[in-house]
């Protein structure tokens, strides 16, 4: 019995003599899911592009075979000519990519882009193709396939686009589906639904799936077999339940140790007392005007944030959790004074215990400069938030320069100091950002925020662009600095597992409103709101015995009008935020 797909000793290199992927082998059967796990740069993506023959131009396959079963015969697809290979691509083997937003052409209708696969590989009439596309759209969960067919990608949400990508990959009924981090760019609840969909489709068609991911939780939910890769080599390979229950290789064990998990039980911790607040946001709303299509129509108003009250106690961490579009980042911007809240909202900041609080949005020039020194921000994407044309020393001393602090030598010392504080070496000052890895860059980003010795750090998804093991280190670092320097964090995230370890209090946001707020232990042990429950249920756990319960996800992640009556948003009838137990507030009726 030969396997459906067998990759043997695949070695791929770029210009350098040492290969990027070194003697990688794995195999899988029809109907199976193989998960390739690894951090960025491990070569997992490159290996599966080789199977599809879409390697970058500069990559060379140095040796190895990729054997597939094509109509009962074993074929080494690496020996195929370009034309024969093209016939397989999209038809027998298809692929979904990481960023659905960018993986579809913005200028072509979604339906046409999906239909193109059939136009290329099948000889059927236009009507037949359209019917097939509509049927597939229905299958992948579009409520109105006709509308999806005629829509352009920018008119859809990320989750919907990923469904369209899946439709595109599935429409020719391939034998093998390669999913390259298909859910990394999506919210947790959407991720759960997309993973469920892939699983269902696989059960229906019996195709094989290769799932590339860095998330062990996703692996546990999906995979039959696992390949763990690091630096272009296979570290561990085997059945999913074996690898996940008793990882043997130290690298796999390291990955497990770093994977963030929502604690199942936790001892009760009282919510931080709200008597010494560093930041107090009262009745914050923010309405944006969307420009209308023509000057003749009136502008539409979008409520990004609605009646939010957040209190951050000194030395503590308040986490704001929600999906994209929930208004959490707008809250952060308002907290920093970068955005004005609607009339009636008030943000006060109190630099030290006993000092008079200042109003962030009605400061004069000098006071604003003083406030900006004390409240700094750490950004999400360490790759684009550091100027590639500035040496690290310039990036780090720029805030001091702007505020006219210190002499040149003192600035340099200060830069050295913060660099060491974030675990980097003072000798790196003269380097440019490209010389650093993602994790190191995020350290730099934190160092920059720290140069002015702030009291408050606003962290906007500081770890979501990082690998798991790096994420773990950055969270450690943030905790360490907070405790050493008495900082307070406003921590924005979409990831409950990350939040569970760092936060003292968590506010869950949906549609611009806080729906539940509690200390993490209470929130995770006793979640009340259906949306919080959905978030918790959707978090993939690296434990094969605890699969995602899609029913709970579906109950809470849908539109707010579908929640059970207690919690339902019914037009303008929004339930009030009610305190159920001390420090635990839920948006529900009575």
């Amino acid at each position: 019995m030969t396997a459906f797909l067998e990759v043997k000793n695949l070695t791929i290199g770029f210009k350098a003599p040492e290969p990027t992927i070194d003697a990688v082998s794995f195999s899988l059967e029809k109907g199976e899911t193989l998960a390739i796990v690894g951090e960025s740069g491990s070569g997992k993506t490159l290996s599966c592009r080789a199977i599809l023959g879409i390697l970058p131009k500069t990559a060379q396959i140095r040796s190895g075979q990729i054997l597939t079963n094509q109509q009962g015969k074993q074929v080494d697809i690496l020996t195929l000519g370009e034309r024969d290979f093209r016939a397989i691509r999209g038809d027998c083997i298809s692929m979904i990519f990481q960023e659905p937003m960018r993986s579809l052409s913005p200028l072509h209708k979604v339906g046409h882009q999906v239909a193109e696969v059939l136009e290329l590989h099948r000889n059927c009439s236009k009507q037949q193709i359209k019917q097939d596309v509509l049927a597939t759209f229905k299958r992948v969960g579009f409520p109105d396939p006709e509308r999806a067919y005629a829509a352009y990608p920018f008119e859809m949400s990320g989750g919907m686009l990923q469904r369209a990508m899946i439709a595109m990959a599935m429409i020719a009924k391939p034998d093998l589906l390669i999913a390259d981090e298909p859910t990394t760019a999506l919210d947790v609840t959407t991720q759960a639904q997309i993973l469920g969909l892939i699983k269902d489709l696989q059960a229906e068609t019996g195709m094989a799936v290769i799932l590339v991911t860095h998330d062990l939780g996703v692996v546990a939910n999906m995979a039959d077999r696992v390949v763990v890769m690091n630096k272009g080599r296979v570290m561990e390979r085997g059945c999913a339940n074996l690898v996940l229950s008793t990882p043997v290789h130290p690298y796999t064990q390291k990955l497990f140790a770093a994977a963030p998990v929502i604690p199942e039980t936790a001892e009760f911790v009282a919510p931080p007392p709200h008597d010494d607040l560093i930041l107090d946001m009262q009745n914050i709303s923010k309405t944006f005007q969307a420009r209308s299509a023509s000057p003749m129509q009136s502008a539409t108003l979008i409520k990004a944030v609605c009646d939010v009250n957040l209190k951050l106690a000194r030395g503590k961490t308040l986490a704001v959790v929600g999906e994209s579009g929930s208004g959490k980042s707008t809250c952060a911007r308002i907290a920093l004074g970068a955005e004005l809240p609607d009339v009636g909202g008030r943000v006060t900041f109190c630099a030290g215990t006993g000092e008079t609080p200042i109003e962030v949005h009605s400061l004069n020039r000098a006071d604003r400069a003083a406030f900006q020194k004390q409240a700094q921000m750490v950004f999400q994407d360490p790759f684009s938030s550091l100027s590639p044309r500035m040496q690290i020393i310039d990036t780090l001393t720029e805030p001091l320069d702007i505020h006219g602090l210190d002499t040149k030598a003192e600035r340099r010392n200060r830069a050295c100091e913060v660099l060491e504080l974030v675990g980097l070496d003072g000798s790196m000052l003269r380097r440019y950002p490209h010389a650093f890895s993602g994790g190191q860059r995020q350290r730099l980003s934190i160092a920059r925020a720290l140069t002015l010795d702030p009291k408050l750090l606003v962290c906007d998804e500081p770890t979501s662009a990082l690998d798991v093991s790096v994420q773990d280190q950055i969270l450690d670092l943030l905790e360490e600095i907070r405790d050493a320097r008495g900082l307070s964090y406003l921590f924005i995230s979409h990831d409950l597992a990350v939040v569970s370890r760092i936060a003292d209090e968590v506010a869950v946001m949906r549609q611009g409103r806080v729906v539940e707020q509690a200390p993490p232990c209470t929130l995770f042990a006793n979640p009340k709101h259906p949306y919080t429950r959905a978030l918790i249920a959707a978090q993939p756990e690296p434990d094969i015995n605890r699969p995602i319960d899609l029913n709970i996800v579906a109950l809470g992640a849908g539109a707010s009008s579908t929640w059970t009556e207690e919690f339902r948003f019914d037009g303008n009838d929004i339930p009030p935020l009610t305190e159920l137990e001390p420090g635990h507030m839920v948006r529900c009726h009575g």
């Binding site: 599809l52 879409i54 093209r86 016939a87 397989i88 691509r89 999209g90 038809d91 298809s94 692929m95 990519f97 990481q98 960023e99 960018r102 993986s103 579809l104 052409s105 913005p106 200028l107 072509h108 209708k109 882009q113 193109e116 696969v117 290329l120 590989h121 352009y152 920018f154 008119e155 990508m165 595109m168 969307a290 420009r291 209308s292 299509a293 023509s294 000057p295 003749m296 539409t300 979008i302």
Partner: protein, 341 residues
């Protein structure tokens, strides 16, 4: 429907812009002290020819040049009664050229259409050359195809137009028997349009088109190449490859469509830069476009002639930008529906 509404809206803004531009033109022309007639009067007085002075003064009254500037402007565009009632741009009366002692329309009438013709031919040339070369250079980047086309492109950019014109005239005449100078055979000038005349114009157009278009084409090619290279790295290109599309078809259908946007947006900029760039070329090549007339008019403060020509160029620019805006809307759904949420 959206397109029609947008086109209508753009048309209105276009006319408002034109109005603004006309005011700017008029006042800038009148910035230097005096006008054609006062200059003449001073010259006549200096040489003691008083008879001429009376005539010039009469003309000055005739064309309302003795009134306040704002009034002059309004009379010029036809929104204020002049000495003979409403008679300005809006009524189709383009004024009198003092320098040539003829109505403006008689001087530039034919030249207008020839200008449009020459520049349209050049724009067409730019697009026809830049599109395939730019795409080819991007698709085969860092190969000899890329290097050769870039080299030719830079050569085109770096060579002064008039020099290129002279070289082309010499060799075009020597080997291809292409005509030198003018836009038609001299004996056909002033004749009504005929097959022979059209033929002659086309033949005469070859070299001017090439000369005026080369640098534009080279610049456009480089821009398209850079845009294409950017687009080729986008994930949607990978998606298209993963579908099993052939490289050529993939290139045409996806990245090219995206790279076309700046290409189309350039139409508006291309027209004015070509018209002003072609003034010198027109003088060198002896083309009967409005270029030489504009040069003379500006030198002698012949305000109605200069004003009319500048306004015409502005109109062409506005039409160009309008066409590119509407085309962009047709091409790019993000612009069409971008603000529909």
């Amino acid at each position: 429907m959206i397109i029609l509404r947008y086109a209508f809206y753009r048309l209105i803004t276009m006319f408002l812009t034109l109005l603004l531009v006309s005011a700017l033109i008029f006042f800038i022309i009148n910035l230097p002290p005096g006008n054609y007639l006062t200059n003449q009067i001073m010259e006549l007085q200096a040489t003691g020819q008083d008879a001429g002075v009376a005539k010039a003064e009469f003309l000055q009254h005739e064309y309302a040049l003795d009134r306040p500037l704002v009034e002059q402007y309004l009379i010029w565009i036809g929104a204020w009664p002049g000495p003979y009632g409403f008679s300005g741009m809006l009524q189709g009366d383009f004024g009198w050229s003092f320098e040539f002692d003829q109505p403006v329309i008689d001087i530039v009438g034919q030249a207008l259409w020839l200008t449009v013709l020459v520049n349209l031919a050049a724009v067409l040339f730019v697009y026809l050359v830049a599109l395939p070369l730019g795409v080819l250079a991007a698709a085969r980047s860092q190969t000899w195809v890329d290097y050769t086309s870039s080299f030719i492109g830079y050569l085109g950019l770096a060579t002064p137009n008039f020099l290129l014109a002279l070289i082309l005239f010499y060799y075009g005449q020597k080997y291809l028997h292409l005509p030198i100078g003018g836009l038609m055979a001299p004996e056909l000038e002033g004749e009504p349009m005929s097959l022979a005349k059209m033929n002659s114009i086309l033949l005469h157009l070859i070299i001017p088109t090439f000369v005026i278009g080369t640098s534009g084409a080279a610049a456009m090619m480089q821009r398209l190449r850079a845009n294409m290279l950017d687009e080729l790295n986008k994930p949607y290109v990978e998606t298209a490859r993963a579908k099993g599309l052939s490289p050529t078809k993939m290139l045409m259908k996806y990245p090219l469509r995206m790279a076309l946007n700046p290409f189309v947006a350039d139409i508006g900029n291309l027209l004015p830069s070509m018209i002003s760039g072609s003034v010198l070329v027109s003088v060198v090549l002896g083309l009967q476009t409005i270029g030489p007339a504009l040069l003379t008019a500006l030198k002698s403060q012949d305000q109605f002639l200069a004003g009319f020509i500048l306004l015409f160029v502005a109109l062409l620019t506005l039409i160009g930008t309008m066409i590119s805006d509407v085309l962009l809307m047709l091409l790019d759904p993000r612009i069409r529906y971008g603000e529909r949420k």
